[in-house]
């Protein structure tokens, strides 16, 4: 483990350099920095941080390497709520509607996963996928009948980190951010039982892990955190899928601290992607496009290295 310290120190420096560049690049004034740039930085880093952390925990909880924060349908519920608020004219309530959509979807998925009186991770996964498809269909209906609101719909479905905050909303967002960090810390405390869960449900149970309760906690906290990110930033793919695998490839296997490292790298990755999204073309492009363009080749490269 000792020989990894220089790598972590280097990563720390690179992260700080990225933050500095992100906050200071072509900045016009201190006022612009505090009122526009810094809130965007906070939203971006927090979104990446939460998505990667939740993605990591979902992959273990569902025992599925393809799992990501959006797989359990909560994101589609949040996106539907957010888009609905926009098309009915409640532009300023989009985050609130998004979060309510996420809550509704979360409750429905949990109820479906418990149908028949028993619970399994396969039922949870299937319920999430089916409900996600249902909400996607509702979004398609809105898209079909409200094509003039296509800009908002695209920004929700492809990610938009350029949210303009109202003064009161900013105070609310800061409070919400602290709450989400607390919830994420709670998820970090579940890292050890989750690590045990990778040995299988039976083995984990025999080692004293309450598997059902663990899954419930991970699902609830992960869903709330995902709902929070989608409500403000829309759906940003690849972060929650690729970063956990990247950490496993870098560190090797499921180790203590991997989830926290994945979260830190997720924030960093999204900062880089958002910076590119803002400056690569004359007009800002949706950040989800950049995460896919960078994430896919990088992931293929890592796969080819780790035969």
């Amino acid at each position: 483990m000792k020989n990894r310290y220089p790598v972590f120190i280097l990563m720390g420096f690179l992260l700080l350099a990225t933050v500095y560049l992100y906050l200071s690049f072509r900045i016009a004034s201190l006022e612009v920095m505090t009122s526009i740039r810094f809130p965007r930085f906070l939203l971006t880093y927090l979104t990446g941080f939460l998505l990667a952390g939740v993605g990591y925990s979902y992959q273990i909880m569902l025992n599925n390497p393809l799992a990501e924060p959006y797989i359990l349908g909560v994101s589609s519920g949040a996106a539907f709520g957010s888009i609905l608020a926009s098309v009915i004219g409640f532009h300023l309530l989009q985050p609130l509607f998004g979060f309510v959509g996420a809550l509704v979807a979360m409750i429905m998925v949990w109820k479906l996963a418990n149908l028949g009186g028993y619970f399994s991770s396969t039922k949870l996964l299937l319920s999430g996928i089916i409900l996600g498809m249902f909400f996607s269909a509702l979004i398609s209906v809105i898209m079909y009948f409200h094509q003039r609101d296509i800009s908002t719909i695209v920004s929700v479905l492809m990610g938009n980190l350029g949210h303009v905050f109202a003064v009161k909303e900013w105070a609310f967002f800061r409070g919400f951010s602290i709450l989400s960090l607390m919830l994420m810390t709670f998820l970090f405390t579940l890292a050890e039982p989750l690590r045990i869960l990778t040995t299988g449900d039976l083995m984990a149970s025999s080692l004293g892990v309450d598997v059902r309760k663990l899954r419930l906690y991970v699902f609830l906290s992960g869903s709330l955190l995902t709902g929070f990110t989608v409500a403000y930033a829309g759906i940003i793919g690849f972060v929650g899928l690729i970063i956990p695998h990247l950490v496993r490839m870098l560190i090797g296997g499921e180790r203590r601290g991997n989830m926290a490292l994945a979260a830190l790298l997720g924030g960093w990755f999204l900062l880089i992607c958002d910076f590119i999204a803002q400056h690569i073309a004359v007009v800002e492009i949706p950040v989800g496009i950049v995460t896919a363009f960078i994430g896919c080749p990088f992931f293929i490269y890592l796969l080819s290295r780790n035969k």
Partner: protein, 296 residues
Amino acid sequence: MFCYRFNIIITSRTNQIFPGLVTILLLITVLLCCCNRIETESAPGIRLVVISPELAEIAAMVAGVRVIVGITRECDYPPALSEVPVVGTFSNIDLEKVKAINPTVVLTSGLEQEGINQELRKLGFATVSIYPQSIEELFAAVLEIGEITGCSERAKNIADSLDIIYEELLQEIPRTRFLRTYIEIYGNPLMSAADNSLVGEVIALAGGKNIFPELPRNYSRVNPENVIVADPEFIVITYPGVSKQDILQRKGWENISACVEGRICTTADINPDLIIRATPRIFNGIRKLQEFINEK
């Protein structure tokens, strides 16, 4: 024709007394036509289906509502159109309903209506695509619809009357106090209009100096940081659901000149159709914007 000459006489005599009077009289004339209170004589047998709200407005003014036999849900002006059968929405029409109506011509616009136009052609309908994106193109649209409906002379009179108002506005420009203006056509993400767009032209004629004169597209996404740096003196919001208070509460916007002076125009102040639709009512919108700028 009499109406047209009468307006010319008024123009020459009253121009120095009260510059806006001529515009008002001309607008009243044009809007009366638009409301279909003036009977028109179109070519016999003309049956129009119009699927764009601005074209419906122009067609009603040039040839009267009676020639329009089908519209889309967005075609809401003049009010007499409410009695015309609806064949769908701006981006999705019911082809069977159009076929049942059996129009002689279908008027379509640009954007997603280009695809609809192709579909209608495949079914053998005679279609005409008109997509005015500037005031000059609005005049051309009036004349073209006049030709289609057999009301060329009337269309020419209307176009000439509108041209007088336009020329008057152009002459006023040197005397106008220009305000740095931010046009917001969408809030999430923030989108604005360039000078090349119709909305940009409207703002320029009303006395606004667009803070985003050039954008990658006529209507394009903008960075909120650039709005604060440009410090606009006048903000125009062209979409519903946002109040003046909402703009004032945006983080970092409280020190923008327009917010300090309260010079923010939302859809509660001016009907956005008067600004974003290429119809004769656009001059009404320009005058209202001018009044808004000068009052504050």
